[in-house]
Structures are given as structure tokens and as C-alpha cells.
Amino acid sequence: MNSFSIGQFVRRPEFGAVLSFVAVIAFYVVFGGVSLGSLFGAASWVNFAANLGIVALPVGLLMIAGELDISIGAMIPAGSMSIAILSGYYDLPIVIGMLGALTFGVLVGLMNGFLAVRTSVPSLIITLGTLVAVQGLVLAGSVLLTGGASVPLDAPAWAKVIFGQLINGKFQVIILWWFALTVVFGFVLHATRYGNWIFAMGGDEVSARNAGIPTKRLKIGLFVLSSTAASFVGMCGAILFNSAQVSGGMNYIFNTIVSIVVGGVLLTGGFGSVAGIFLGALTFAVVSQGIYFTDIDRNWSNLIIGVMLMAAVLMNNTFRQMALSFVPKRKK
């Protein structure tokens, strides 16, 4: 059962993501004249992937559970502004700033979760509301409190080491966080009963509830995870760059969704894997940042992303059909 077989691998949700990853790199090598050595030695796309990937993990779990959270686009600047205002402008200890940023994430997540559970409004609309509202709150709050839309932050050395240093002068430490969180999320989704609950919820919420799964609590918890993760990414950014801006973060919304879908997660829920989400973020980063290593004009990168997304979705549909219609050969 546990022996590796190609057939089994093809039916896994992340198979499409592996193919996309390899295909994109091959494309760049063949048509863009990229040397693999310089690409794999470069930090820009790995940094990009890590920031994207940390948000994509919980949003991907939400998507497997059949929900969506786009308020992350506002939560990233909200996280960095929270810590910068608290610890930069008001000079409170950095720990207070961190707690402030993460608490803000938890609160917005709770609000998203409660609204999603209490109303029948699709979570896309709910989180669209919180996205815009949080944006307004952060901008107005920042201007009201500090008089500007950009706040400097000077984090102590230990905080820099953990959340915002550059390893080897170029790799953001958040990459390690991304790896660790991928392992944790992978364990939870694939090895624990909670993971099974998430799949069940995305497959058929009513049946899942009838089977005794606390779907409401689970859903609220997932929303809390996603907005807190976004806030965390913003917080690390502020510590790294010594300042925070109100703007930015909107790109993350579509980037996350694209990388999750490329990673083989079914948009309507019930199917996907953490390995896929991880690879999806990696692939997305290679496409959008790797283009700088090619001879290709960077303006083409969005076209490539669009084509890759469509190819990935079509491919994933095919693989899912294969997984569904798979009947094992009878053993004699």
C-alpha cells in the first residue's frame, strides 16, 4: 500500500502542481535562456513565494472547506501598520506591537467567521466587505493617530533575528516560517482528524454537520487562521523593512487564489493538499519573479500566469476525473 507507484502519484491532488512547476521552469530555461544555477541561487522568488505561501496555506484550507477569504489583501498592511503604530509611533515594547497585529488578525477572522456562519451570504461577499472596511479603517486610523500613511519602526535585534532578518544577506527568515508552517498545516490536514473534518465540510457541509462535526467552530477557526496569517506576514514585513505603509497587499488576493488553484485545490471545496498549495505558491513565484532572469520582457509575465492558471485548472480536472474513475485491478 505504501509503496510508491506512478499511478497513485498521478491521482494525488498536487500532481498538477508538480507538472506546472516543472513546465514553467522548463519553459524559462528553453525560451528564456535561464541558467538553473542562477535561478535556484536567487532569493527574490523564494522570498516572494514564502510571503505568498504563508497566506496561501490557511486560505487553501478554507478553500478545501468550501469557503474563501479575500480580506487577507487588507490584513497584510493592517498587520504591518498595527505593529508600526504600536511599537514604532507609540514606542511600546515590540511584543505589544506583535500581539496587537496578531490580535487584530484574530478579531477580523472572528468577524468573518461569525458572519459566514450566521448568514447565508457567500464568504466571497462577506470578506469583500471586511476587505474594504479594514482598508478604510487602517488608512483613516493611521492618519488620525500618526498624521501619515507611512510609519517607521525600529525593531530590537532579537525580533529581527526571528521575524525579519536576511539570511546570507538575501533570504528572508520568513522562508523558514513558511517551511515550518507547511509541515504543521500538512500534518493537520492529512494526518489528523481535523483534516478529515475540513475535507468533509468542503465535500458536503450538511452531511458533515449531521456526522457530528462542529462545522461552525471549524469554519470560524479557519477564518481566524487565514486573517491572522496575513497579519503575520504584514508584521514580518514591517520588522524587516523598518517601516509600514497603508497601501499594498491587494495583489496578494489574486496571487493567493491563483497559486492555490494551480496547487490542485478544487475551488468549490472538498479536494486538495498542502503539498499542492506549497508547490502552487512556488510555481507562481517562479513565473512572476523568475521572468527577471530571462530574456523575456517582464510584461509578458501576466500572460504566462493566465495561461498557466487555465492549463492547471484543466489539468487538475482531468486528474480528478482519473482519481474518481480509478478502480484497482483485482488481485488474484
Binding site: M1, R193, G203, G270, P328
Partner: protein, 273 residues
């Protein structure tokens, strides 16, 4: 407790949603090893009745008795714990989950300790496959297969096997054969018989009289939220039952009404509006 005490009994159960009365004075009994067929056309209140039995709705008036004792369910979970399991039209299972995983949704077997309790895939698959095979579905032999790849009949069988495995005493089957072909339906009916043989009380909801007659011991016809007829196997023919379900009396009344109208209007139909 004698063998004759019904496992589940409804006494004069009414259910209304606000001002709308959906069920009136429903009284039903189902005993161990007996199949009660609940027949009714669309909108007769079948779903509401099922949901009341399964603990989703609370009756507005009337009592539910289990083993002769009045019970009140706080929700579907409690009804399930007391042994009432509902299997829905499409099996209520998850198409993109493996057989093992979907079999144990909500009650996953785990091994290990503390935060490292992991889902025990091997045990789950083994138990799930064995449970289904015990019901005679030998074609299912790999617990890693996705549920969506099974045929409709196999899915129903899986869901029924699951309910039985988790100690169901009353099995509520909501239109299990409605979406199935002839062969698949026969398959499910065999499973119903097997469940009955094992001493379960089965409530079989359908509007296909043929299927009901194949397995039923006891029949109740539901019309506009009330029990219009209640009879045992062999007491009525198939035609009589079909007429009943279509609301035989209502039809006769309608015909009479049209005739009166035609007579008083010299055979002219009502003017077009």
C-alpha cells in the same frame, strides 16, 4: 421490554413552521426487523417527517417514543447517538473522499498520543471495506478509492453499512432508489432486506410503489401532511396504493367539481382570463 414494543413510535405528532402546518396528527410505529414504507407524492410532508424523526425538527405537538419511553432530541446528533440514522438520496457521502475517510467522518480512528494523534488510515480502510463486504458488496475492496467513483447503488450500500456499523437501530432511508437504474435499485433493496434480517427497524421513504412492495411489511401513505392510509403487506394492491398516493379522493372530488361546473354552464369551459 417485550419484542413487540416498537423501537420508534410517533403519537399524534404535529409540526408547523410558523403559521404553516406541515404535519397533522402523525402516528406511526416501527418494530425491530420490520420495514415501514412511507409513501407520498412530492410535497406530502415526507421530508419534514424524516427530519422530525432524525431530530432536525422538534415536533410542535405530540410525542416521540423510543422503546416505549418518550424522548426529545436536541438535534440530529442526539438522535444518531440513540441509534437513528438517516441515509439520504445520494448516500450523504463525500464524492472526493476515500471510502475509509468518508466512512469514519466525525469518528476517525486515531493512533498516537497528545498533539500527535494521527488518523489511522489502515484501520479505517480495513474496517470500512469489511463492513461493506459483509453486506454483500464484494466489489469494494480498496478503502483508498474515492466515493465518487462508486456506482449509486454502491454508495447507498456504503452509507447503509456505515450506519449499521455505528450502531444504528432505526434506519431512515430517504428515497434510496429514486436516482438509480433497475439493477442498482434491486441491489439497494437486497441491502434493505439484509438490514431487516439483522433486526434493524427500517423506515423506507419512496414514491416508487414497486420498490416499496418488494421490501415493505407495513405501509403508510402520506397526503398533505396527514396519514391517509395505514395498512400491512398484502392488504392493498399496487393500483390501490398508487391511487392513494395521487390522492384518489381528491381526484374524484375534482372530477365532480368539473362536472358540476360544466353542467351549470352548458358545457362551456370557463372564459380565458
Amino acid at each position: 421490554m417485550s419484542d413487540n414494543t416498537p423501537i420508534l413510535e410517533l403519537q399524534n405528532v404535529d409540526k408547523s413552521f410558523g403559521p404553516i402546518d406541515v404535519l397533522h396528527g402523525i402516528s406511526l410505529k416501527v418494530r425491530a426487523g420490520e420495514v415501514l414504507c412511507l409513501l407520498g407524492d412530492n410535497g406530502a410532508g415526507k421530508s419534514t417527517l424524516i427530519k422530525t424523526l432524525a431530530g432536525v425538527h422538534k415536533p410542535t405537538r405530540g410525542t416521540i417514543l423510543m422503546d416505549g419511553q418518550p424522548v426529545e432530541f436536541s438535534g440530529p446528533r442526539e438522535a444518531q447517538e440513540k441509534g437513528i440514522s438517516t441515509v439520504h438520496q445520494f448516500g450523504g457521502t463525500f464524492p472526493l473522499m476515500s471510502i475509509g475517510r468518508s466512512f469514519f467522518v466525525g469518528v476517525e480512528p486515531t493512533k498516537g498520543w497528545g498533539p500527535f494523534k494521527v488518523y489511522d488510515r489502515k484501520t479505517a480502510n480495513e474496517i470500512a471495506v469489511r463492513a461493506v463486504q459483509n453486506f454483500g458488496i464484494t466489489r469494494i475492496d480498496d478503502g483508498d478509492r474515492l466515493v465518487g467513483g462508486l456506482s449509486g447503488g454502491e454508495r447507498q450500500s456504503l452509507a447503509i453499512a456505515r450506519a449499521v456499523h455505528f450502531g444504528a437501530r432505526v434506519l431512515i432511508l430517504d428515497e434510496p432508489t429514486a436516482a438509480l437504474g433497475v439493477k442498482q435499485a434491486a441491489h439497494v433493496l437486497r441491502i434493505v432486506n439484509e438490514a431487516k434480517r439483522r433486526g434493524l427497524a427500517v423506515i423506507f421513504i419512496t414514491h416508487q410503489v414497486m420498490h416499496a412492495m418488494a421490501v415493505g411489511d407495513h405501509f403508510a401513505v402520506l397526503i398533505r401532511g396527514a396519514i391517509a392510509a395505514d395498512f400491512r403487506r398484502g392488504e392493498k394492491t399496487r393500483e390501490e396504493i398508487t391511487d392513494l398516493m395521487a390522492g384518489g379522493e381528491t381526484m374524484a372530488g375534482l372530477e365532480a367539481q368539473i362536472e358540476t361546473y360544466m353542467a351549470s354552464h352548458e358545457g362551456q369551459p370557463p372564459p380565458a382570463q
